[in-house]
């Protein structure tokens, strides 16, 4: 009896939500369809009617059916309370899903608009009423993004070089210092670590000014070095890895010592494999940092040989050489090419990214 009721409630809820969502969509599309998106008046009118009907059905299935169901299942005095409660609960659920769906749509819409704009022709993009689905797919825009003045291939290459080298070096520095802080004993260890953490509170702009002077004096302007070296040390990564290293039991270290393993061998054979999730997190965050960095690269290495991808993307002139009109599809294609690797990394390494993020509050 109880199971029966549960499945019945679930079915009604699902049906209501699906109908409600579909109805809302139909109403919106129908209303937009009036004179827009070239859907035609009759089609729009039909869509609106269907939408209103679906919405009404949804409300009916969510509210009225609750009463019928209660009549079927509820008994006696308790029925009065549970019926009201359940109807309320269903209504709240429906509102929750509607709220989340609308906001989720707002979250996704920029990605959708970026994707479909990138495959439109310039003429279609510039239509007085924008189309929600391209009439004609022009994939050659993507090729143009690589071959044109934007030279995306070179930008990608530069960014990958900087990203890979700085990640590798940063990992070495971070592992060595995290190991020292987690396992080795030396005078002033806690004070030094506290001082390190204190530097995290100072805004980066304070460092940037003097670092700009420093790298200019070193003669590093317009090199890869200037993009890599100043950011090799991240106190946050050291902190993250130290916490992870400290969780590894000390007995392992002593056992390795008895077996005559050196510190470095122990670090390489035991600590690093055990801390690999944190190391992966650091690698991903650091790579994403290079991919997204803008302020520093624009300041110190904004030349053709060393320009990074974000700087190139923002600085490029997306104008048609003939008409002088802005070429939005080309711009959007470039944006897609910059965004897709990030989304791929996110899909593949979601767990590792979330781990780092929830503890930092800093991007990249």
């Amino acid at each position: 009896m109880k199971d029966n009721r549960k499945s019945y409630v679930g079915l009604r809820l699902t049906a209501g939500i699906l109908l409600g969502t579909a109805g809302a969509c139909a109403v919106v599309v129908g209303m937009l369809g009036f004179g827009l998106f070239a859907l035609g008046t009759w089609l729009s009118l039909i869509l609106v009617c269907i939408g209103v009907l679906a919405l009404a059905l949804a409300v009916w299935s969510l509210l009225l059916l609750a009463k019928i169901e209660d009549k079927l299942f509820a008994t006696g005095a308790t029925g009065e309370i549970s019926r009201r409660e359940r109807a309320q609960k269903t209504l709240v659920k429906a509102v929750l899903y509607l709220f989340l769906s609308v906001l989720a749509l707002a979250m996704i819409f920029p990605f959708y608009w970026m994707l479909i704009s990138s495959v439109k022709t310039v003429e279609e993009y510039n239509l007085a009423t924008p189309t929600l689905w391209p009439h004609e797919f022009r994939w050659s825009t993507y090729l143009a993004a690589f071959t044109g003045s934007l030279n995306l291939g070179r930008l990608f290459l530069n960014t990958v070089i900087v990203g890979v080298v700085s990640t590798l070096l940063s990992l070495v520095v971070t592992v060595l210092s995290a190991y020292a802080f987690a396992r080795l004993e030396f005078k002033g260890k806690n004070m030094l670590f506290a001082a390190l953490l204190a530097t995290m509170m100072i805004p980066g702009e304070l460092f940037t000014i003097t670092n700009y002077i420093t790298v200019s004096r070193f003669g590093w302007l317009h090199t890869f070095t200037v993009l890599i070296v100043p950011f090799l040390v991240s106190v946050f990564y050291i902190y993250l890895l130290r916490q992870n290293f400290m969780q590894i039991p000390n007995e392992l270290y002593l056992a390795a010592k008895v077996d005559g393993a050196s510190d470095l061998k122990y670090l390489w054979k035991v600590m690093i494999p055990l801390a690999s999730p944190t190391l992966i997190s650091i690698t991903i965050l650091k790579m994403m940092g290079s991919w997204n960095s803008y302020i520093w690269p624009r300041l110190v290495a904004n030349d053709d040989l060393h320009r990074l991808v974000t700087v190139g993307l923002r600085g490029a002139d997306f104008r048609d050489t003939l008409t002088q009109l802005p070429d939005f599809p080309l711009q959007m294609a470039a944006v897609v090419l910059v965004t897709v690797p990030l989304l791929l990394v996110f899909i593949l390494f979601r767990k590792y990214i979330m781990r780092g993020v929830s503890r930092s509050g800093i991007k990249g």
Binding site: L36, L100, L103, T199, E205, I209, T210
Partner: protein
Amino acid sequence: MSRKEKTVKKKSKNQWKAWLYLTPMLILLLVFTVWPIFNTVRISFLCRWNPDLGAIVGYNYSDAMNGAKYQFGINNFINVFTTGDSFLTALGNTMLLTVLTVPISTMLALLIAVALNSIKFLKKFFQTVFFLPYVTNAIAIGMVFAAMFGMVWPNLARPPVSVGIINTIIEAFGGKYINWVDSGSSYWANIAVLVIYIVWNALPFKILVLLGGLQNVDKQYYDAAKVDGASRWRTFWRVTVPLLSPMIAYVVITGFIGGFKEYTSIVGIFGDSMGPYGAPGKLNTMVGFIYDSIDNNQGKASAAALILFAIIFVVTMINMYVSKKKVHY
């Protein structure tokens, strides 16, 4: 040999080894973190009389290398406020954006987190969708927002060729198109777009933190509230918000810090001219102001950076003070 002696001996043996492991980090930290702290403070107080310009100018490193002599003084800090009104513009823009975006994004994130926490069906899907903006490039998606709000308007003497997707939706509901980001757009239209974009960008992190907090809340409290017959609204304000207050304080404080350092969102939408076409610098922020003078007047840039640091410090302290009184740990 006693156990204690053993550890002491091991300690001293490991001393030099530990410092060896720390060497690369320490060298880099000294050059790129510790030295800048002192030097930025130092050069913010260095200035000189420039006879060619007939004005007091701040420290410039290439002039200094060519033998220019600088004196100690607070003129850089005065210059920040007095040379034009660009700093006040930047300060006003930054404050306005922070004051608008932090409450909106926190409230919205709280609502979304509570909603996500009370559903089961499709929960993972919604969580992923709401996290998507986090892993994107602020500049790249800023350009998408600019395309969505922008118009195709080749000849300013004639009406625009296309008013863009957002304006099309507005017109579909009977409104009139608004010049959001293009040449001649109004200040409040620009701010509205920036607020929407910054909130869109800030939501994922806040939702993640608040949802994490909600999942750790003991179900007992809700059962107790239910027994007492508290309404949903009352439960939300009297149970959920107080129990979540440490997380709310955390996202508000980081939100304020991020808000005062706002820069790339504006570059993403308006380009590094920091304003719509024909009005560069209209939407400049404090960080933007610092980078404007980093090339030729490092003294002034340092002074502005210290002012920014002071503001962030004071605001964070106020936040901490308020949250100490209001937060239930």
